[in-house]
Symmetry: C2
Subunit: 341 residues, 2 copies
Amino acid sequence: MVTIKDVAREAGVSPSTVSRVVRGQGKVGKKCRAKVQKIIDEMGYRPNTNARALVSQRSELVGIVTPALHKPFFGSIAYGAEKAAREVAFHVMMRNSQNEPEAEIDAINSLREHGCENIILHSKFGDPDTLKTMAEKISGLVFINRFLPDLASRCIWLDNVSGGRMAADYLYKQGHKDIAIVSFIRENEDQRDRINGVKQSFAGHGLTIPTENIILREDAGTEVSNMQEYCTYAVKELLSRDIRFTAVIAYNDEMAIGIMNALFDMGKNVPEDISVIGFDDLDIAQKCRPSLTTVHYPIVEMAEYATKLSLQMTLEKSEAPGRTHLFMPSVIERKSVKNIN
Amino acid sequence: MVTIKDVAREAGVSPSTVSRVVRGQGKVGKKCRAKVQKIIDEMGYRPNTNARALVSQRSELVGIVTPALHKPFFGSIAYGAEKAAREVAFHVMMRNSQNEPEAEIDAINSLREHGCENIILHSKFGDPDTLKTMAEKISGLVFINRFLPDLASRCIWLDNVSGGRMAADYLYKQGHKDIAIVSFIRENEDQRDRINGVKQSFAGHGLTIPTENIILREDAGTEVSNMQEYCTYAVKELLSRDIRFTAVIAYNDEMAIGIMNALFDMGKNVPEDISVIGFDDLDIAQKCRPSLTTVHYPIVEMAEYATKLSLQMTLEKSEAPGRTHLFMPSVIERKSVKNIN
DNA sequence: CTGTTAGCGCGTTCAA
DNA sequence: TTGAACGCGCTAACAG
């Protein structure tokens, strides 16, 4: 390993001068700078990040904590963050949390051991008070896909209510007055918000959505163990109940696809017999058949934005601006919804 | 920030003793250890990784360099690596290379600045000599999904020839004697290997695959700009040429799905009219319709293995074992291939 | 079993 | 404009 001393000796200058050249700071004579730079290139010198972080008390690291990196949605977060980080020559360190609050804390702590001040956290279930305490200690901690009133200015999140409303508005315009909703848990924020958005939209048209038209995973019991099983269960329920619906709003794309498959299996065609709309706009939405009409979640942009915000907070030592960062979804029209007007 | 000194002072011992307790190494009196541990917990002391890495000359980091993390296949590599890294309390740093050899080198260099000795590199196009030079300098550099004869013991790769053979064997058993192949470039290793595997299989049955039955992206010219366009082009070619085929072997799942969609668009049903088989076994393969029969690529396991191998090489300072690490694919039977016997 | 000493490679004073 | 000296927090070698 070639150190700053080696370069200094070779160039016949002091280590401090080399340091100035490397960082492009301070006053260095033009000739001197050129000579040192030449030696640096020749010797292939690269500053030791650890030593640097040790002395300057900050590492050039962005940490990202998400539930499961192999899922496309979270992979996109990592992708967006890496993109923004690279622009300022920062590195990305990642950690999976499995959606377990304990694992999240652990991940954050170990990130901090590396001197990582910039952390993008995707926490759906972390305790607000705990998170607040952490935020006070970590100047670059920001939250993606969650809104915490006390930490509003550090939250980068999506307007799920609008997303739900947009999906419902779109369906309504296509002539669908009777719809069903398939989601997970009633009380989870995102899920509740999206459902509320749908209800708002329909209320605006003087319509209500009967309780029987809403299927929730929490009501499915233990008989279903994975997404497809749940979707099959949901579709069976819907079809067996004495209700009328021409379209299904799924919580997300994965579920929408599961529902389409279940419908096909039961002899229903999408969108001819029943329309389906998703949420997220994952890659798969354009690859499945019929391609999925869905609500676009600008997750890559959000992750980039979150990273830049975090960086700005630590680099410019500026507090987060006194506002929250709310992104808007948008409907992407594809082939899974039929116009029945 | 609470340092080792703070703990030492508080506990009335020397920093070295605290260090020994923290690392669980060396001899420390039972009572003494308990007391120090108590103070550590109370004060919330966490060792500074940078200082540690500086003095011990090694960081507890695994670097992973892949072309594009947001794609499920590469996301799985990151996932597997993180899993293995976490077991030994290492962190993962990642970098996207966009498949550009320059960016790869750059990524590796910046990883090294962090003192990262463990690097999992997914490089399809990197120059073998350059890679060899890097490997000599980086004791924990391993290659995933590539075989370099000179660095065989550091390569974790898949037997693509067998994969191609398995796909073809499976098709043959299902009664398909006339098949088409859709792939990218003739000379790329993986693609050539898989095609060769297919040819071997058929040769074993006394059959050959006519050149006209093989469509390559490189022959498509510039008119196609994305995967779906290419698949549509490929299917059109196949259908317009005066050839006979009952099944299509696609280079990978993404392509297989594009091909299925193109076939549907042209009024052909899968698998009734034409069967399709993919490669990779991405999540999407079980979600698409018909679900895709494909060749399973054990990429998560391979990434875990690669990480453990790298760790072993650096931690135990042992050279890589004198053998290469070749994983075998396997056929996953789903619904996109019809038995026409 | 425990403490003392001496750096790891670098950035940042402060003098010169 | 340059250099010398110091210390970031920690581990390792050596004494005791």
